[in-house]
Amino acid sequence: MTEAAAPRVQLLGISKSFPGVRALENVDFALNAGEVHALLGENGAGKSTLIKIMTGAVRRDSGKMLLDGEPVELGSPAEARALGISTVYQEVNLIPTLSVTKNLTLERQPRRFGLISWRQANQRARERLKRLNLDIDVERPLASYSVAIQQLVAIARALEEDTRALVLDEPTASLDAREVELLFGILRDLKARGIAIVFITHFIDQVYEISDRISVLRNGRLVGTAPTAELPRLKLISLMLGRELERTEAARASGATVAPGEPILAVEGFGRRRYMGKFDLRLRAGEAVGLAGLLGSGRTETCKLVFGAVRADSGQIRFNGKPIAIRSPRQAVRLDIGFCPEDRKAEGIIPELTIRENIVLALQVKRGWLARLPHDEQERVAQAMIKTLGIATPDADKPVGQLSGGNQQKVILARWLASKSRILILDEPTRGIDVGAHAEIVALIRRLCAEGLALLVASSELDEIVAVSDRVEVLRDRRKVGEIAGGDVTRENIIHMIAGG
């Protein structure tokens, strides 16, 4: 390999762990000069960790990083920037109330006699914007411009004269089609100047429009890199959604026949403007319904609407045939519905409370605050759940924050089982759980279903969906696009429907 052909940025064998989570495992990634390289993966796949390592915000545990063939050690984003690697993060990290000039010269204001020279600063800001062919009034506050312009200002801020690599984390998330075109025009221009661009997005269409190559991460591993032209949509989606549970998949086929009874919960035309398109959903006792779709397709949104965590503005719900309203989680809980949220730490566990208190919480809510469950009874319920679900803990009085991810998930499941829920909504039940506990949770879900619970399971792992579901609702772009049932529930069918085939 000649010197000129060395990739602009090369990451070799990168691994990174955070407490309790293996974020990246032996990842290789090469970014060439003058290419737009799309980095794809579901939530928690390791995209952000990878770019943070590349831009000096996070230190790797092991592996090497080469910049134009030279090994580099990055201690901070400032060091990365000095070497010509810049980032524009997803949340525009500019200050909307300040002027464009102030935003662009925040770290280094030109000074005259020790005072800031605003004339010179404005000049400098205009020069920066000119690199993006942008001509706007730099003295107006940033907030007075559209999100797209703000995004471009953020890019202008990141771009130096000597920028060699630019990382864009979901730059198009809040842009409309015209604005995306504007941005892409600029990206093509930057590319032509030899700048290497990493483009993170979950809009598959945009990937095919702008990128030259694609890398896919899943569960902290690189599962594939290919030129965009050689990676058809179907192949890409199946790479993103993974294939890890083939054994469970086989096990499923044997017990797949469910006698469909009357639905406990029937949802019609449910939705919320700017949040989730209208959908229908039926949940029956002893039946597990999967929610499949890519990141941002509306899986979590569907769960939250049904549970009342987000209020629907259209449609109706029938519970055992009777029309009702679910306007809050409180009402849902009273109807024996339970919800295990995707973000366990933020929305699931109550870390300071003990395992016992976490488990009895929903049961206590149903009894009301006056009818406190006596301590002995709490202990009995908790111990029974610890035993049934195999929660690994010496006693029930340990703060739940000290348990591993898998055991925390079981505690939340226990919370709903202890309160005799008849409908369980599970959003990403195996997210962030190690492989052993993963299979265990999947088996547990099957068992609960066999015991007569009605389940709604949202997952980014396609194989998990196939393994647990009797019926699958397929979502795309915050709309339900179809339903697959019984023997037709296969990876291939789901992928076809997601891809729109």
Binding site: R330, E347, G348, I349, I350, E352, E357, A362, V365, A371
Partner: protein
Amino acid sequence: MDRADNPQAIAVGRWSLGEITGRSWFWPVTALALIFLVDAVVSPGFFSIRIVQGRLFGSLIDVLYRGTPTALVALGMAVVIGAKGIDLSVGAVVAIVGAVMTNLIHRDMSPPLILALTLGTGVLCGMWNGFLVAILDIQPIIATLILMVAGRGVALLIDEGLIVTFRSDFFSAISTGEFLTVPSRILVCAGAFLALWVVLRRTALGLFIESVGANSAAADLAGINARLVKIAAYTLSGLCSGLAGVLICGDIRGSDSNNAGLFIELDAILAVVIGGGSLAGGRFFLGLTIVGVLVIQGLTTSILVSGLPAQYNMIVKGAVVLIVLLLQSRRLRQSVVGVFLRRSS
């Protein structure tokens, strides 16, 4: 963060040192014991309790007697802090309640009715705070700052800008009288403690408050009405401050809107923190909060009986509080223990 990952567990009998010192009660109780120990050495008569004119008398009783209003306020504060809030308005509530009480006494109403209306005023103040925090979603420190500032103004309006005095046998008896030789305010406080404990720990309200304090989003998804729970916490605090106000005004037999309960919120917050409460919310300890109050009041009394000039009071108090708080930090303890272990090995 994790008790189990404490690498230096020194075994003492069947309990490890780490296990004992890691208990929430250990440091506050030790601090209180040490203060009393110093007192016993410095002033031999510290623990002697006599009956003078049909009333218990002694330094220990004095600590309890003087600590009572702060204890009441601190109990309410502990609940609010457990719900991840803070109540800066407690001193102002004391002033408002005092002004209302004085005003009603001058209207010749029956004392029990006055007591009920007065405590009701405290409850209303608490509900106002709860409304600002839970419904309008204002940050607790700002929300309660509003009443802290405006409250004394309200009290002054009621008092028409004067210090109004009164004579009331009923309220004097509650505040400065005695019952079966025990100062009655100590009994009032004990009763309030018991009532709070029953309301919080014999019902599920305490669990709900702690859930909301530790993780409001998760509590909400578990079906808890987080708003109502927060309002309940502030209301309890208002009620406690109201009762403290009754004692304080009964003591001075008047309403002094500018000074009644001034800075009491600071002692109350300190007491909660010494008692192991975290401003990050999620746990409250009623008993240990009382221990925290006794540490603060014990210090003040100790400095007085030790003959140290009174101007040292604040400095010594600050130093002791700092030491107790540092000792409670598990991380600091571990690194200190770590240094010793490394030396010995």
